[in-house]
Amino acid sequence: MTIPVFRFAPWQPAEQQLDHIAPAPLPSPFTPSVVLASVAVLLLLCFVSVGPLLWPQSHSTQWLSQVSLGPTTARAAKVVRDEGLWRPHGDVRSLRVADANTERVRLHWPALPEVKRYQLYRGSGLDAGLGLPLAISSTPYYEDRLQLRRALYRYSIADADTGLLLFSVEVRPQQAISEFEARLQGLIVGHKTTLPSTIMLPAHPLGTDALGRDILARLMAGGATSLFVGVVAPLLFISLGCILGAIAGYAGGVVDQAIMRLADFVVALPFLLFMILFRVAFGIGPGENGIAPLILAMLVLSWPSSARLVRGQVLALKGQPYVESALLSGLSTAAILARHILPNVLPIILVAFSFAIPQAIFTEAFLSFIGMGVSPPSTSWGAMCNDGIKTLLSHPRHMLLPALFISISVLAFNILGDALRDISDRRSGGVGR
């Protein structure tokens, strides 16, 4: 095969018709996880700030009649007057349920001459078996006031001596509230002699805790504390660290030595141990919630890392020709700090800050969990976990819900911190992890 000669004719290309190789595009920092984390942080902030306005229940109100409830909606409750000891008169032909509500269940049965003492059992109507032995009664009636809820119960009455089963009845108590508690909660005002027959009880979308407090309201209030400590403490100790680091780096000499040796010592201290110690030492006066000593203790113990960071940066930047030229041109120290040093240090500080937040949330949770954090009636997610661990086996929800909130917030802040670090690394020409 021959090739036509004209195809070999020299042909000068246009001068700049050259391929420009575009660099591989950097991956966007807005990965789905980062977006999700941002949304989570925003939602959490809304939850603790706007939440209490939309959900005006108090986090510290205890509902004696509604302890450890599951999720409930708002519902009517019968008001029950406390009448003292119940003593029915007369005889009944068969087992009679005189009253069945969550305040009390009253049973009255025919007296049998051959039985001296009656053994009462209460079990779930859904399970077989007698269930919990309630009491031994010598009278043919009994009033049950033990932790009743709106569930199907089966009461069984047996001869306590022979064990012979005599009666059995299934009861589903009706929601009720005692007059005493209704007055306590302000649902009945004034000393009216005629009581309303029913009262609306508030909803508990996440149920109530072991002391009958609304968990949703507690999560909001606790979150406000946890996030407040989580954001304000790092803000304060990083600011302190920046100031000390800048002074050390800028002044140099004896001042630098003093600050940095102090930082060495503080870093060498076991952190949580000293958090506990300082927290004890600062103490809590009556009526205080314990947040201030907590933040103060963190301030004392956590400043060195950012101080070292800033000092290192200041020292590195001080040697830069453009800072030297600014010095020579007679710029004031403050102006140099603001114009040249701050913009370079700020990204690093921001990254440190974003990683300090989950750390602070963890610290607060740990201290509150061992009872060294906020003190009641204030609460935090860590303190809620501390309350919840006592009912872990019967009502895991009490502990797992605040734990979930701690985990989500820590995770979200960690992801944001990672993203922020990648961006700052990229800006300074480094390569992200």
Binding site: F265, L269, F274, F369, G371, M399, L400
Partner: protein, 315 residues
Amino acid sequence: MLFYIARRLLFAAFTIWFIATATFFAMHAVPGDPLTQEKAMSPAVRAQLEARYGLDKPLDEQYLLFLGNMLRGDFGISFTQENRRVNDIIREHFPISATLGLAAILIALVGGVAAGSVAAHFRNRWPDRAVIFAVIAAISLPGFVIAAMAQLLIVRLNSAVDSTWLPVAGWGGVEHVWIPALVLGLGTMAYLSRLMRASMLEVLSSDYVLAARSRGIGPWRLFWGHQLRNAILPVVTELGPSIAAITTGGFVVELIFAIPGLGRYFVQAVQQLDYTVIMGTTVFYGAFLVIVVMLVDISYGIIDPRIRLTSGRRR
């Protein structure tokens, strides 16, 4: 190297002194004095108690006395558990905490190194993703939540098989150690495996691993001889802080699993404001951690020839 060790020793001694001093003055800065917490007592009883705990002396004398006693290893008598010496409490309960902590750090180290190595070798494939997911889950859960959930799980498991083949709490045989130790080590394990993964990735992309492969060295020999030792160095530096984290994490794990370790006593003492026990255990724990961190740093110097042979400090 000797100079380096001497310097570290001096620094550690200073730090322990600092911890003791800070503890002493922190405890005396507490509003009121320890005895006012107790129920009302007659002035005579009070005077007697003050004399017993040395509270009647001036502060500087008390401080010197405290330092002197501490040097002799005497931390005084408990406030709430009458007649119980703090030394005895430490001697009796610290071995339990130490056993638990040692088991936890071993689990964390071995697990973290293994998980990190596997993740790095299978970068961006499913073992890597699984490790990353587990790490993220573990570092965003507080230690006490992991412990509580583990306990809940054991209870549910026991009731499912209708026997107690895993103890829920308490202390005794080996079966009581490994679950709390695993729970305690989990957070640190996650942290170490993240560290290990990063450093192993760096090693894997290094020239010397490529060069070793170019000499025909097989994967296992490469791992044990060339990759592991280099990748583990940054992990060893973090061992000191990890031990500190596990020690303090032990407080809650001991509390939740009802383990009679020193950590539980410390938390109880803090809650009951038992001043001598707080002071004693804080100084003890502080000294322990400072010494452990120092030992880890020194051993790091021995592992890494670049430091061992050039005597100076790192970098």
